[in-house]
């Protein structure tokens, strides 16, 4: 089957939903937008995130994941924006041709005028870590376990060790405890947690679950089912210290060891990928290196808060609307450059004349800092200094330019973002 559409959105999670609404609110007709979702319902990963804490920025109240999703799904339905569920995108090329398949439509070749990538991210697995040992049942990524418990209604195990202290791991430590399992330890390779401080407090401390920093799992035991793991302390170069080996019996090992933007489909369109974020290189409109293909949400860079995913995706939706109605000018883009302590900045490029007060730059730092400043330099000249009481790898920061700094940024060919430590801060 052949099909044509103005704006195709790959993924019906928080990013895809907000992007669709962004495009619709910019004047694109509902029937000219199509959201392609592979699950049987819209909402994406929010549906399994039943804990509260979503929407404080966006709605000024604390919602659970399903509630947050439902607000957007309701708007999409009320606007009658097109969507198809149980539909998997198999391919995308740089001509914006999409191939998707679903039980109701079969294979469809969809020609889009603009494409918004909103596929989210995937979890890193045991294979990515190379943990030695046997291959029994009982090893899950935290998100998979979360789906089992919160959507399918199954308990994946009774005695749990969690490797990695990302937010999903912390949330699952609490969830498993509430449902009657014993969470024996959360091991974190680094000397700090990558999860939010509030989650360590309310998910671990509340239930006296030990957080073992600078610890990792060195062996998995068990033939049919996990029977235990051997953990060890690691030295400053992250190598396990031999005489610290300790056996913990358990039937389940959960991994919460990082998320990777899911860009398999994007690669078909030969989109330039940022080696740090593992997402596309985008400009301030969230347009990728291929004209008319946009990216937003966790497929672009992994966010901590869905509120920022929504905001970014609305922007991508508005940009796609602008692209299909009036197009973008051919002016040159300038670069943002992360340096000295700043790991990445999104967007990586910007159109000087088009950045305005609403242009926000997102960044992440490489280690924990206290009382430092984030400096922004335009062609080498300091234009903005933002004091940070603390900055952590687990917390995405944002900075927006105003007034005089903004004027200078508009004219500059590059903006450097860097962390300054010491007396002058």
């Amino acid at each position: 089957m052949e099909q044509r559409i103005k704006i195709a959105i790959i993924g019906g999670g928080p990013a895809g939903l907000a992007a669709a609404l962004g495009a619709y609110e910019s004047g694109i007709k509902a029937e000219d937008i199509l959201i392609i979702e592979r699950d049987s319902c819209l909402g994406g990963i929010l549906n399994q995130c039943i804990h509260a804490g979503f929407g404080l920025h966006r709605f000024g109240e604390e919602l659970t994941g399903p509630e947050y999703a439902e607000r957007y799904i309701k708007k999409v339905r009320e606007a009658d924006i097109g969507f198809i569920t149980d539909a998997m995108v198999l391919a995308l090329n740089d001509n914006k041709d999409i191939t998707y398949i679903s039980p109701t439509t079969g294979i469809v070749h969809l020609k889009a005028e603009a494409v918004i990538l909103a596929m989210g991210c995937r979890e890193r697995t045991r294979g990515a870590l190379n943990i030695p040992g046997t291959r029994p049942a009982g090893i899950y990524t935290a998100g998979t376990a979360q789906r089992f418990v919160n959507i399918e209604g199954y308990m994946p195990g009774k005695e749990v060790v969690i490797l990695g202290s990302g937010d999903i791991g912390l949330i699952m430590a609490r969830r498993m405890t509430l449902e009657g399992a014993k969470v024996k330890a959360v091991c974190e390779l680094m000397p700090y947690s990558s999860g939010l401080a509030r989650n360590i407090a309310q998910c671990l401390d509340d239930f006296q679950i030990p957080l073992m920093l600078s610890h990792t799992v060195v062996k998995i035991h068990g033939k049919e089912r996990v029977t235990g793991v051997t953990i060890a302390e690691v030295d400053s170069s992250l190598k396990p210290i031999p005489d610290t080996y300790k056996y913990i019996s358990c039937d389940t090992l959960m991994l919460s060891v990082g998320l990777i933007p899911e860009n398999e489909v994007s690669k078909g369109a030969d989109i330039e990928i940022d080696r740090v974020t593992n997402g596309a290189v985008v400009d301030n409109f969230r347009q990728t290196s291929k004209s008319g293909i946009f990216a937003c949400g966790n497929v672009l860079h992994v966010h901590d808060l869905v509120d920022f995913v929504s905001m970014e995706s609305e922007l991508a939706g508005r940009s796609a609307a602008k692209y299909v109605t009036e197009g973008f000018s051919g002016e040159n883009k300038s670069d943002t450059v992360p340096k000295g302590g700043v790991r990445y900045v999104v967007p990586q490029k910007y159109y000087g004349s088009s950045i305005d007060e609403k242009t926000e730059f997102f960044y992440r730092v490489g280690k924990n800092y206290r009382n430092v400043s984030l400096n922004v330099l335009a062609d080498g000249t300091l234009i903005l200094k933002k004091k940070l009481v603390r900055a952590a790898p687990g917390e995405m920061g944002n900075i927006s330019l105003k007034g005089e700094a903004l004027d200078k940024a508009r004219k500059a060919s590059n903006l450097v973002f860097t962390i300054e430590e010491g007396e002058n801060v």
Binding site: N47, I50, L56, E67, G153, L178, A197, R198, A201, L305
Partner: protein
């Protein structure tokens, strides 16, 4: 007496420093610093007087679409009653259709606190 803990009100996670007299834990007498908003002060005081948490979980659901329904307490409940609450939640069965916001269990654990549905399931 001095205590330090992380604020859980929002994702910023301020480090709160609390000074109080264990003999007199009336909220006016508790000194809070480190918070960056009034909600942090309120949280710190409640954490000394009566720690509370919003509980979220799932209940069994009779539905063609989903086997379990996400639920939450519409107000925070005492932290020490969380496992009692889980015991009740695990005995509840709900049938579709259900709308997000529907009360699943009225006066749940504490009077005035309801257990509500977090998701709409049509059938």
């Amino acid at each position: 007496m001095k205590k330090t803990f992380t604020c859980v009100v929002c994702p910023i996670g301020c480090e709160l420093h609390i000074e109080f007299d264990p003999e007199d834990i009336s909220p006016e007498q508790i000194k809070v610093s480190g918070n960056s908003c009034p909600r942090g002060e309120k949280y710190a005081k409640s954490e000394i007087v009566n720690p509370e948490r919003t509980l979220t979980s799932t209940v069994k659901l009779n539905s063609k679409i989903l086997p379990v329904l996400p639920v939450k307490t519409d107000k925070p409940i005492s932290k020490d009653k969380i496992f009692d609450a889980m015991h009740i939640i695990n005995g509840l069965i709900v049938s579709a259709p259900v709308n997000a916001g529907n009360v699943i269990c009225k006066d749940f654990i504490n009077k005035g606190v309801n257990l509500v549905a977090c998701r709409t399931v049509s059938e």
